[in-house]
């Protein structure tokens, strides 16, 4: 999808908002399924974000510096008898981008007056 540089896609905004919400609840880091679930609950959606769409967006956002990630300690995963998680966290740049997106969303939409060009 082509877009203006510096702007966020709706899914990217949702991911960043979910990341901020999770952090306020004490989860500084989140994994893919956690953020998909958070988005579903926040937006009262019927379905979870698709695997391909979600992980492609996460990778793109990490490349853009909005998120950072690390692989979980294998011992923690082994102790809980589950696969290792890739843990993401929102960066300062991600927070800034979210603030800008929120400001743009709040700004009133200015529509050009009709009939000015008519002569």
């Amino acid at each position: 999808m082509r877009r203006k540089p510096g702007t966020l896609l709706p899914l990217e905004i949702s991911i960043l908002e979910a990341a901020v919400d999770l952090r306020t609840r004490g989860d500084d880091e989140f994994h893919g399924f956690a953020v998909a679930k958070e988005i579903k609950e926040r937006e009262d959606s019927r379905t979870l974000t698709a695997h391909g769409t979600l992980y492609k967006a996460l990778e793109r956002m990490e490349r853009a510096g909005l998120l950072e990630s690390r692989w979980e300690d294998p011992e923690v995963a082994a102790a809980e008898r589950r696969p290792r998680r890739r843990l993401y966290s929102i960066t300062g740049l991600g927070e800034q981008a979210l603030a800008v997106a929120a400001a743009v969303r709040r700004a009133p939409v200015v529509r050009p007056e009709r009939g000015l060009a008519a002569s």
């Binding site: 769409t53 692989w71 589950r82």
Partner: protein, 205 residues
């Protein structure tokens, strides 16, 4: 086999398909991340009161809806990988060329040095008299000094070093014009110096 196992198996099979042929790092990372996601989905606490078939359908729904993004991700990953490989092989080729030309220049310098030492010793065995041979040896010696100084300075002061190399190579070649190999080598070095010269960036107005 439960319906969840079936949905998870199907998703894993699809992940294996679209990550096939990608660099190992990207392939294993994507597979591991999806494995973790599937596990979390199947073992989510919110699932306790729900029927297994419903959870399985959810997994399949996520799989199908994400397929276009998976395919486009694969295309981008492959394109990025190819670009990295091409860039690597290009820089390797240019390094090989550079080392080859440095070796050739070194060999030419040694040849001029050899002439510089042997010409005065040979007296008037060659075409000219002793005085001519001394001059001939001196010129080849200067050419050798220019070539070696140019090679040594190549890392520090590129422009001066390249000028010295060019002058030295051509000077020696002019004075040994009847010997084909060093003349061809000097020409090759001159062409390499001209082709790889740094272009000046235009000054801002």
């Amino acid at each position: 086999m439960s319906s969840i196992d079936l949905a998870v198996g199907l998703t894993r099979a699809w992940v294996r398909v679209y990550t096939r042929g990608l660099p190992a790092e990207e392939r294993t990372a994507r597979r591991a991340e999806l494995d973790a996601d599937l596990w979390e989905h199947a073992h989510d606490a919110g699932n306790e009161s729900r029927r297994q078939v419903r959870i399985a359908l959810e997994v399949v729904e996520r799989l199908v809806a994400g397929m276009p993004a998976d395919i486009s991700w694969r295309r981008e990953a492959k394109r990025g990988w190819r670009a990295r490989v091409e860039q690597g092989s290009r820089s390797m080729l240019s390094m090989t060329k550079k080392h080859g030309m440095i070796a050739l220049t070194g060999a030419l310098g040694l040849w001029y040095l050899f002439i510089a030492v042997t010409a005065p010793l040979s007296g008037d065995d060659w075409t000219g008299g002793t005085r001519e041979m001394l001059t001939f040896g001196l010129v080849c010696g200067i050419a050798a000094i220019l070539v070696f100084t140019g090679l040594v300075r190549l890392r520090k002061s590129k422009r001066w070093a390249r000028t010295m190399l060019g002058i030295g190579a051509v000077m020696g070649a002019v004075f040994t014009f009847w010997i084909v190999v060093p003349v061809v080598a000097a020409l090759a070095i001159l062409i390499w110096l001209l082709v790889t010269r740094e272009r000046r960036t235009p000054a801002h107005a």
